[in-house]
Symmetry: C2
């Protein structure tokens, strides 16, 4: 009577989700057990351990939030911000804007330093705007809307600004986690959120977050309760911690999925995985340039998992992507905000981060350009 | 190297999750596609249609929120409440308390009418407390902490109080949806949230919600922005609506799951499904009473999907449930809050709502009581 949904076959080369490996799909489909089952509590501990390795941190509060990537942003900011707090955000794309918007809704006084979309952050502009004390200094590590990655030295500059203004350093690592080094502890990042559907190659539905001891102190020193019951990290951390105090029911099968996806990443080796993402992107970029296309981002700022390229003159964005999907089964992303209609975003994430997959796109591009 | 998680075999007879049917597990494990793929947009429409049937509503804004059940509560209340709003909540268990707590954190002036836990709501006490104007009148349709269902006439009484005080009627339907009639339109419910891991028999991870046109008017008339970016229903409804405006990435594979689970429910027929839940519960209750156990709730107030029974004298709660899990592979729930250590909560939800499953519990109980 009521029909099942059978998804069409797709090669997902957009900004995420990417294709989910067979092992992860298998894990998702394993029988559900209770969220207080001893076996599940064990699994939760393993998930926390694996996440810490991926994030490069020893932070106690390192867990997946029961929501998609932006839910992790909401959780982190809802807990660290109180009305009137000053927040400095470096904006160089849609997700920096979203960060600022989210903070503003929570009652923060937000100073946005808007930088060129498609470039990295302008540290001197940020430094000049950093007058007085701030609660948070934040930015997007891997701007999914433009394909820009902040370099370690840029992160160092942000950390200096945070130190000078007494702020926590907060980073969106949605499109870098498991594809590029994140290294929270080494880089002095106090709080972060990520997603599962990018380089981790797990379907969307969870948001890994991590908070440093310094961030936990800020959380404990709040003078007002967190306005969001669902995202109250004090309560959530008691569920994921030794107390096992019931807060909400964890999304059991999604936890199976992230556990398996992290297992695949760790089995491969993080350095090997980063290198694979980098090599695949280089191959794609070279192929695009060979064909006369112009990359949006200069080489030093490029985010390997996601390449943004200007749409060639005379090519109609929507029609091209529609044919790519229908005739070749390949999905890529369009531009967002002011870049809509200007660029394509091509993701080589997770299992798709290979030269062979880059070639599949390039061949399809050639076929459609003939 | 990094190992996979293989869940132990369990019969899930707690307060949810229940066992996930094979068809739904299969759906969860189907290949991920993009959240803006035409095939996925089509699926979203089907999900909305099926949800409307389940809820008994024609409400346009009827969607699954990308979070677990309490996330739906957070979404509904974050959007309908502004600081200073007056909210009347009938409390007869943990989830009524949670409702009140969530509203209070959002700045509402909350009037809690605490009724007996294990009984239905005291309408005259609620009516007496309903002085002046209120923004919301709310309650929990199916109290998962006690196993009490509000009768249609009780809901009618709440609707009258809402009418008299100019309020919207808001209902938590987490443990009733797809197991007992909800009938939002017929009963004049303006807003509700539910879960997937109860009678719908889909793993946790989504929260179906529905808002009436009257609730949408309240939403549109807000004088302050919704403080939660993630749960901003104006933006979310544009993603689920004709605009398809990107907000966040939907949890693709979970959407496959809820679509399949709703398909199973609709294929069975809602009336048949309700009757099955009712018959199974009656069989369980009779079996428990035959064995000399005392049910917490009087017959007229019982929630079929979840039966609460007093722990017999001389039986140690934790030890019994541990043996039940280890020796029989059966999970049941303990009491929450003041009922911890006092009751067990036995769920016959989804596929488990059969006499045969009730018998499996009763046999295990007999074996452990010898």
């Amino acid at each position: 009577m009521a029909s099942s949904f059978l998804p069409p076959e797709r090669l997902l080369l957009g900004p995420g989700p990417c294709n989910t490996p067979r092992e992860v799909l298998k894990a998702l489909g394993r029988p559900t057990i209770g969220h207080l089952d001893p076996a599940f509590l064990d699994l939760m501990n393993q998930v926390r351990d694996r996440l810490r390795t991926l994030f490069g941190t020893r932070n106690e509060l390192t867990i997946p939030i029961s929501a998609t990537g932006s839910g992790g942003m909401q959780a982190v900011l809802s807990n660290l911000i109180e009305p009137g707090d000053r927040v400095l955000v470096g904006v160089h794309g849609v997700f920096g804007k979203r960060f600022a918007d989210c903070a503003r809704r929570l009652g923060a006084e937000v100073v946005e330093v808007e930088c060129t979309w498609g470039g990295t952050l302008d540290l001197s502009a940020l430094s000049a705007a950093a007058e007085g004390r701030f609660k948070l200094v934040g930015a997007v590590h891997a701007e999914t809307s433009t394909g820009v990655l902040l370099s370690p030295s840029c992160l160092g500059g942000l950390r200096e600004i945070a130190d000078r203004t007494g702020a926590l350093l907060v980073l969106d690592t949605v499109t870098s986690l498991a594809g590029m080094p994140v290294e929270l502890d080494e880089r002095g990042v106090d709080a972060t959120w990520s997603g599962t559907q990018k380089c981790l190659a797990c379907p969307p539905g969870l948001s890994p977050i991590s908070l440093s001891p310094r961030a936990l102190e800020v959380l404990e020193a709040r003078s007002t309760p967190v306005t969001s019951w669902y995202f109250d990290l004090s309560a959530i951390s008691k569920y994921w911690g030794a107390e096992r105090a019931y807060h909400h029911t964890a999304p059991i099968n999604m936890i199976y999925g992230i556990h398996e996806a992290m297992g695949l990443a760790l089995s491969e080796g993080m350095d090997e995985r980063f290198e694979r993402h980098t090599k695949a992107a280089k191959h794609l970029c070279a192929g695009l340039e060979e064909r006369g296309l112009t990359l949006l981002v200069q080489e030093s700022d490029r985010l390997a998992p996601l390449t943004s390229v200007r749409i060639p003159d005379g090519v109609e964005d929507a029609a091209f992507r529609e044919r790519l999907l229908e005739e070749h089964g390949i999905e890529i992303g369009g531009g967002l905000g002011p870049l809509a209609g200007q660029i394509w975003r091509i993701g080589l994430m997770g299992e798709n981060a290979t030269k062979a997959t880059a070639e599949r796109f390039l061949h399809a591009y050639d076929a459609l350009s003939r």
